[in-house]
């Protein structure tokens, strides 16, 4: 039996976004194990489908496909490292139609990867790095937002317990970073984490939603807002 994972997310997006008069159901299959994770619509009414594949080796590699509005495969990239798992965390299209992909990675000394493609699928650049933040080696990226002034904001969790945002330009340079929250510590030694960070852009603010531990040993969903520079906004 072929190793195939059906793309449910694709079904949703196409059914809803392309619901005017043409429905279709297509499989995008490398012949190995494939899984879809992210789906965005592009300015040309096409789509970027981001997922992971084991087409190169036994480890998951980030894999993206550009498809047109009829579901035809225009280009695709396997952008993973051999010998380690990685996968897309966020995909965005810039106003000049570049595609920016942020990825996690389990490769040695790498926690974060960024790849940029032009409209035709040519790799513009790829950057990977390993951040020692506040002395802690653990660094996980949880998303990305494109601000109106072209900066990119990524929420990250350091050492499972510190929520930070990093601000980038579109060539992958770090512009700034700020700590937003830390995980509470309780008597009894609970070793809890900040998890499931989502972020949303507003007219003049960014909303972060995440699990943290406020009052006891069960997680609470926390919502906070900042301006585009990371300054907290009170309710």
């Amino acid at each position: 039996m072929r190793n195939l994972i059906i793309i449910i997310v694709l079904f949703l997006a196409i059914t809803e976004l392309n619901a005017q008069n043409s429905h279709y159901f297509k499989l995008y299959d490398t012949g190995s194990q494939d899984v879809a994770r992210i789906f965005i619509r592009t300015c040309d009414n096409g789509y970027i489908l981001g997922g992971a594949s084991t087409i190169v080796d036994a480890y998951w590699d980030a894999y993206i496909i550009k498809i047109d509005s009829n579901g035809n495969n225009l280009w695709n990239w396997n952008i993973g490292f051999g010998g380690a798992s990685d996968g897309p965390v966020s995909i965005m299209e810039t106003p000049d139609s570049n595609i920016v992909v942020f990825m996690y990675s389990t490769a040695a000394n790498i926690k974060f990867r960024m790849a940029v493609f032009d409209y035709n699928g040519n790799l513009v650049f790829e950057k990977h790095d390993y951040y020692l933040s506040a002395g802690f080696p653990e660094f996980t990226i949880h998303g990305a937002l494109l601000l109106p002034d072209s900066r990119i904001v990524t929420p990250v969790v350091v050492n499972d317990s510190i929520l930070k945002t990093y601000c980038w330009n579109q060539t992958g340079d770090t512009l700034s970073s700020v700590v937003l929250d830390t995980c509470r510590q309780f008597p009894g030694g609970y070793n809890e984490k900040i998890e499931h960070v989502d972020c949303f852009i507003g007219v003049d603010n960014i909303t972060f939603c995440y699990n943290n531990f406020i009052a006891d040993n069960t997680p609470s969903r926390v919502t906070l807002k900042t301006d585009y520079n990371g300054n907290l906004i009170d309710i």
Binding site: R2, L4, I5, I6, I8, L12, V35, S85, N211, R221
Partner: protein, 110 residues
Amino acid sequence: MDYARTIKGESNNYLFLDFAVNSSLINTCLYDWNIDSVITWIYYSSPAYNVLSSLGADFISEDTVLFCGSISNYSNMDKYAHLLKIDTASNVVGSKFTNLMVIMYQDFGQ
């Protein structure tokens, strides 16, 4: 897999999904930033299937949410794509699943 996530709705409403609570239940709450409170809880359990996942969700109107995920039974390895429309009062507007997309299920790690 853990599907905990947040979906942004109209204005300052946020829908918190937490699949980990119970695999037989879609369980969400709607939070209003303006009053810093949970407005309502939204639940769905299938009358025919006892394993539900919600891979994604989005508001399709101010008071209606479309969930996309899979549905199956403990006793059966087949999974079906599942689309669920439900309003914020937990009334099911529509629920569809299709055997067109039976998943040949594998444990793919993450």
